[in-house]
Symmetry: C2
């Protein structure tokens, strides 16, 4: 099935305890599209870059089968740039630089060829832009998933709630779920948030895995214990990309299949953190992913027997 991804295509500069990069390729849209391309074969991206963005990277995305006709290249403008430094625990980071550049007045354009897409992934962007994309699709997709972050809860909660009311799946982390709901218990938070619109909620907990809530069903997906997290940048987007790509490829939005999609996303995210930026995602094969998924199965699998 056809998947449209909206998200930033950007430059990042990253410092971790393991090293430091110059400007490298990043952006939620980039990670989502690369990750979902392992599953989704009909994929289209909506984004914007400046004319400083390397054609070679656009060629890489195109070679992955990603339709770039909705990616605007703004002449004489600069690509979005983010720079950050991770702390020793890799769970927290300081933003050093944010240059919005082309994102400041981003008006998403939906090419006619994108109309009719069954799956829509809204990467982290302003909730107004996310909603504009939904409104510009003539036919509502079968499934709309969305990411957001605490930044939008701080400065644009009303806009965020309007967008949330239109989506099926919200993918956020535990801190964001607590902020959005005002509840510490993630189970309570899940009820408050799902009353805002999305009937499916995925709460990412980093090294502690992820939770999927829907109706009275809960799924707890493990995270692979890693020796080192080299660079966490993009891991959440890679998770979302694997998730939505798996759903689009299998065209099955049942709870049972969403569990599989979360494992696929978790496997892809576990590769993402092994090197800086998109580097690892550009190296791995589908076979690598299948082997990693086997590790998840062995990690989480147990069978109870009757004892009494």
């Amino acid at each position: 099935m056809s998947l449209v991804t909206v998200g930033s295509v950007a430059f990042d500069a990253i410092e971790t305890p393991f090293g430091k990069t110059d400007k490298i390729i990043g952006g939620a849209g980039t990670f989502i599209a690369l990750s979902s391309s392992f599953y989704a074969k009909d994929q289209k991206i909506v984004s914007v870059v400046g004319d400083d963005f390397p054609q070679s990277m656009l060629d890489v995305l195109a070679a992955k089968g990603i339709d770039l006709s909705g990616l605007q290249v703004k002449k004489g403008e600069k690509t979005f740039f983010w720079s950050g430094r991770y702390h020793n625990d890799m769970n927290s980071r300081d933003t050093l630089v944010t240059e919005l550049n082309v994102l400041e007045h981003f008006d998403p354009i939906i090419p006619a060829s994108y109309q009719g897409a069954e799956y829509l992934m809204l990467g982290n962007l302003s909730p107004q832009v996310q909603r504009t994309v939904i409104e510009r699709l003539e036919k509502r997709p079968k499934l709309i998933a969305m990411d957001t972050m605490n930044f939008w809860m701080d400065i644009a909660m009303d806009e965020l709630k309007k967008t949330l009311a239109l989506v099926d799946v919200l993918i956020i982390n535990d801190e964001e779920a607590r902020q959005l709901s005002g509840e510490y218990s993630l189970k309570k938070a899940s009820k408050v948030i799902r009353a805002m619109g999305p009937t499916y909620l995925i709460i990412k907990k980093g090294e502690h895995g992820a939770l999927l809530f829907h109706g009275d069903n809960i799924f707890f997906a493990p995270a692979l214990p890693l020796e080192d997290v080299f660079d966490p940048t993009g891991a959440g987007d890679t998770f979302a990309g694997g998730f939505i790509g798996y759903l689009a490829a299998t065209d099955d939005t049942s709870f049972t299949n969403m569990k599989r999609a979360i494992i696929a996303g978790s496997a892809l995210a576990s590769f993402c953190v092994e090197k800086f930026g998109t580097e690892r995602l550009l190296e791995i094969s589908h076979k690598d992913i299948e082997e990693r998924i086997e590790e998840f199965i062995s990690l989480a699998n147990f069978d109870m027997v009757q004892t009494v």
Copy 2:
């Protein structure tokens, strides 16, 4: 198979955001013995109380089939007392009072009827006392599991390492694993700690579940997402009790069976936190536990299908 549990039988006074107790029954040995009694049918406790400890509670333990002949009642002395206040997140707490009382000079006595036990659970106590119990058993048990805490790492690391060298399974939480190993990554920590003696390591992560490490195998057990944690006191001991009780009852120390034992322990711990102290453990039936285990199965279960 026969299980010997060593651990404190004590008084606790607890404050949580939900309320406050007077002196109630607590202690690692109490929680472990109560929890394991749901599985282990031949169970013996080694502990010490003062003559202020209520006979009615000893009767409750005896009625659960727990052999109390190794529980010393010290005339004219007082039972160990701990008082603490939990913070709003329920993950951290302040100790308000610790009165060692009878524990200060605890010399564990092993009745002749305890000799030959196949399973030994060393609840959190000084590592010297834990080691003394091992030394006083004429035949080494088939499996020795042990709990400890950061307190002993701070003041008695050398003693702790001597005891660790003698046990098969260490059960600690993530902070303790990081302190004991000096490694932040739990996967790295698990290697350092297992080089100290225990070939099995369980790292408890509270609301994030638990990890079991053995050789190159890792198992990630989920935790049940709860609306409220009423009182976390004893949850770790209840987990350990369910774990060792399940192993003793099934007499199978394979990795596959340890996974089941962890799920049993997790189910029991999820009841423990629902009320103050031992209250909930004294109410539930085996059927309640079986139903809770079904929730864990549904929480963690997924089946991957071939997509490409």
